[in-house]
Symmetry: C2
Subunit: 190 residues, 2 copies
DNA sequence: TCCGTACAATTTGGAGCCGAACGACATCTG
DNA sequence: CAGATGTCGTTCGGCTCCAAATTGTACGGA
């Protein structure tokens, strides 16, 4: 139902709405499906393995990053996990309360906080990650290994494009104009 | 930096952590990159075109769905936009307050609410969508049209796999056990 | 030693988001 | 035509998230 057909139809309707102004169909389909897939995958993983371990997606990602990279400074963890520093403060404190994560001050630089897993956290990851990876395999079950590689590679190029040229592009678009404040969140100045 | 290399490295570290238990690398890479790409794309679009129009991602998606499909019942809009009914209630009311969306009762079935764009909403979409689509093209600029098609197709298969077999899979995994309540949200019963 | 600057994490404000419970309405059944 | 059952959208509780403002620490030069 909302697969190939409805997306194609949506594109045609969009074109009609624009009175002949051309739409970049393929690029539109990539973005739309990236987002659909991300939601579907996240929801499946949260409702299968993560809920049983009482972890949110973000909490799992944070644990995973620290597990893989070992003791790390919070800003690196936030960057790698794809969340803001502010969010990480809350998440890491929750995980600390649950005894999965340790937060320690840096020995010489008092501004830094180092995150590492507790033994309990390590155990959890040894138990949960294999199940998580099983479900990753499940969601990708309609793709063979080569297709996985090529999809992953295409997505990597999207990420790189944004990381390398996104900032510059945004500046060019605004062209010196005010960056436009965010609707939500704390108000600037006032 | 966090491109091909660091992901591959992460996978090796993960395997080491598991003491030889095999990891499904390619499937893991697909999931990881779907999520990274979704975040990157959303952030870029929010910070470029959407912020200027004072729209969040979700608000834009809702407007887009109603624009494309015309007057629609809320549950269909929620489904198509990939958000819960409860979220849609809030978002649609915000958009109504801003004069972009109309909420009307169904003429014969009093339970339903129909959403449609106001003239102002239509104008906004005619103005914003082309810019949005331009940025979709920008984020996909490293992919040629064929690659776009094949990535989109691969992602579509992921979405279908979850939509068609996800529920069944989750039930099989829990195997009759309690579905494990969500940590957040309103508590059952009590 | 005392600034000023730089950069760290944290706090804070506002919106998003899910899913259980709820109330309103529709429809089926006897 | 009443009650049971089902299906809407809405409400509500708790958590997630971002980014501005804030707080705290480091370190360079006067």
């Amino acid at each position: 139902m909302p697969g190939q057909r409805s997306i194609t139809q949506a594109e045609k309707l969009a074109e009609a709405k624009l009175g002949g102004i051309p739409v970049r169909h393929e690029q539109m389909a990539v973005v739309a499906n990236i987002y659909r897939a991300a939601s579907a995958v996240r929801q499946h993983l949260e409702n299968s393995v993560l809920r049983g371990a009482d972890l949110t997606w973000t909490a799992f990602v944070v644990l995973w990053v620290v597990w893989i990279w070992g003791e790390s400074e919070t800003r690196h963890v936030a960057e790698e996990a794809g969340i803001s520093k502010g969010t990480l403060t809350g998440v890491s404190r929750t995980l600390e309360k649950r005894g999965l994560l340790r937060r320690a001050g840096h020995p010489t630089d008092g501004r830094l906080v180092l995150l590492s897993l507790t033994e309990e956290g390590e155990e959890l990851m040894r138990r949960v990650f294999p199940a998580f990876n099983e479900e990753e395999a499940f969601v990708a079950a309609q793709l063979d290994v080569d297709e996985c590689r090529s999809v992953a590679d295409g997505l990597r190029r999207v990420v790189l494009q944004v990381e390398e040229h996104g900032e510059e592009r945004r500046l060019a678009l605004l062209d010196g104009a005010a960056p436009a404040p965010r609707r939500s969140g704390r108000r600037p100045q006032s």
